[in-house]
Symmetry: C2
Subunit: 419 residues, 2 copies
């Protein structure tokens, strides 16, 4: 066994053992740990900042862009929001032990379906060090042990943050192996963890498409994916033009680098000539580049012609592809062919059109007359989220505490046998 | 592209298209199809039996055992129960469209979480032809298109059954590609389907361990597994001996070839000397071979010594391994090390012991004072089941109609944008 394999085996087995203990921990102890961590982050803000400085100093060696360096920086404000985030998770209800349903069966046995932790989470993420605390908080609150594998760019920040979290585990009588940080950022190491089905119950990658594809391909255990968001807004023939323009601008511009931002605008042909110039003016004012289909370009002379590739591209930038479609069903078909199952918006005044959109579009969130940007764990009331799933199995949409759990059936009898 | 790959691509894409139409089908139409299928099975019983004869005639070429040939046979009784099974699925509630929960958020948007089909199921199964109808019924009722890949031993029976189901689809205005049977039993073909993530949403293998391991390894899409059941019964120090013996015999003997049968008996050392001879007598009377740990063999002179392998073996036969453990926690540890997460039973009169078992044992069904044989979709009130999952993600325990669905968030607003 290679050194990598041996280390992955050791950490995974330690996590499994810790998870069995953690599954039985009381809500009070888990919350005390979360609040203890928040206090420790505040008390050690200077040390965290100085470890973060080491990462910032090394950033040019990793060729990080200015925006990436900025995301890496642990300012006093950001450290405070890490602490507040930990406290917020403490204030969320504990999903473990929730009775989902139950019944007494004709045989006389009594069934109770109870929410339980998944076990061990392997969480692989990139750059921002605050994710270290967020992910650990969500996993531990939902009763899961977690193995954190952060990016090399944040290695010193992550190591310092993790040490605080682990010390607090001991402080509160929880196994230190409940939260482990992989002590190397060697890429081969990730592969060794991905082999350890049996010890690790689920892998959660969060980062670029390359990372997520690699984890999906290599993982021997189930994966909860936070994949790309190719989100559409369809302006129906009956759309309120002001509303449609506002929602398009908000969806594209308010935070273009996130998965619930819009990438494509679909416009009903009956209103293309009147609506397109209006929305184009609002978008170009915000610096958005438009890439249109043939019919769009015939109306908007400034739009660039879209290539076939554009309809399948998550720009994560101030670029929007625009297509005129014949009717609602053509919009539904375009979304089925090119959407990523994330967030799909219709703007309409027509009840039948809204109902048809809701029923026929297959996506984690199907929206009528509101911004795609609302598709988010906090906006949906789940509290913090570990990602937004575009898968259909296990969890779809925002993944909060409940999505980090499974269930088991508890069955009670008085000696019943099956005849 | 090979012929196999091309055929898999065509069938998968046809299934995907059909699934979009089926997702919008009314409950009434789906139920009418199910009842139409039941009538067609009854009306064509002779033809089905004669096609089944062709499989039975070929069975010796495949080296089937007598028991396997028996399972393959479509007797008039079995055909009637296929028809009744279809009607029973018609009488179950439609999971599609169920509102799981919902809320109005501070932003004013209104959230409704609604149950939706998974999409396309690829179902791979062995020998018994009645599974063809069962699986198609569950998939279609839950709004999913299904690609069925049965075993070569039942090829003619499956083909004849499938033709009836497909004719009934057309009869009821549903796409014929809703239920497809792979027209070859070439093993390489399975691999081509397992690559088609995007078209196929989930693969469900049902059969031997080899099949399930292969599908898990090769599938590019999520898998719902019906894996092995290494189920334990722990006779605690306070157990009622009669009850513990009855539950052991029922768990082992009533149907030894199924996944919820017992494989290992764990006995608290304080009662080993009195309980073991009693249960051994009852088991040997039923022809059960006992394989014991050292302490067991010291008490039961007729028991064979168990090897290390025995504790990890699903016998599916009248063999039971027996181990004396120091206490409840030792039993919990043994189950954690050797159990398959299926069904784990304690027999006890002690409330604290029952509560500890329920909390500390990690399995799909954790039972107190009843037979492991109750872990079953029908006994649990789910109606028919497509399998019993020992996974923790998506579905755990019996998988019925609800477990063949996902959900989506429907979000309604009046032009809200995110600030």
């Amino acid at each position: 066994m290679s050194d990598h394999a041996a280390l992955a085996a050791e950490l995974s087995r330690d996590a499994k053992r810790a998870s069995r203990e953690l599954a039985l921990a009381s809500t009070a102890v888990k919350n005390a740990w979360l609040r203890g961590c928040a206090a420790a982050v505040r008390a050690n803000a200077e040390r965290l900042a100085s470890e973060n400085e080491r990462d910032l100093a090394a950033a040019p060696d990793y060729g990080l862009s200015e925006a990436q360096v900025d995301r890496l920086r642990l300012t006093p404000d950001r450290l405070e929001s890490v602490a507040v985030g930990l406290e917020e998770v403490a204030s969320l209800p504990d999903p473990v032990g929730e009775v989902i349903d139950g019944s007494r069966r004709p045989s006389g046995i009594e069934l109770t379906r109870v929410r339980v932790p998944l076990g061990v989470v392997f969480f692989i993420y990139e750059s921002r060090p605050n994710v270290t605390a967020d992910a650990a908080a969500l996993c531990v609150k939902s009763g899961n042990a977690v193995i954190l594998r952060g990016g090399k760019e944040a290695f010193h920040s992550n190591t310092a943050l993790h040490a605080l979290l682990a010390d607090q585990l001991e402080e509160h009588g929880l196994p230190r192996a409940t939260v482990q940080l992989v002590p190397t950022t060697d890429r081969a190491m990730v592969g060794e963890f991905l082999k350890r089905r049996g010890d690790i119950d689920v892998a959660i990658p969060r980062g670029g498409k390359g990372l997520i594809e690699r984890v999906t391909r290599e993982a021997a255990m189930p994966v909860i994916k936070h994949f790309d968001g190719i989100c559409h807004l369809f302006a129906d023939a009956s759309a309120d033009f002001d509303m449609a323009a506002d929602l398009t601008v908000n969806g594209k511009v308010q935070r273009p680098g996130v998965c619930n931002a819009l990438e494509t605008l679909l416009v009903h042909r009956d209103v293309a000539e009147t609506f397109l110039p209006k929305v184009a003016a609002a978008l170009t004012e915000q610096g958005v580049e438009l890439r249109g289909c043939e019919r769009t370009c015939a109306i908007l002379s400034d739009a660039k012609p879209a290539t076939a590739e554009d309809w399948d591209t998550e720009y994560l930038a101030l670029i929007l592809s625009v297509k005129v479609v014949d009717d609602l069903d053509a919009a539904v078909d375009h979304v089925a062919a090119h959407g990523s199952g994330h967030t799909e918006v219709i703007v309409t005044k027509d009840l039948a059109a809204a109902r048809r959109w809701e029923a026929a579009v297959d996506a984690a969130a199907v929206m009528v007359n509101c911004s795609s940007r609302f598709h988010d764990g906090s906006e949906f009331g789940l509290g913090a989220e570990i990602g937004i799933s575009t898968d259909k199995l296990h969890a779809r949409g925002p993944c909060g505490l409940q999505e980090l759990t499974s269930y088991k059936y508890i069955v009670r009898g008085e000696g019943q046998v099956r005849g």
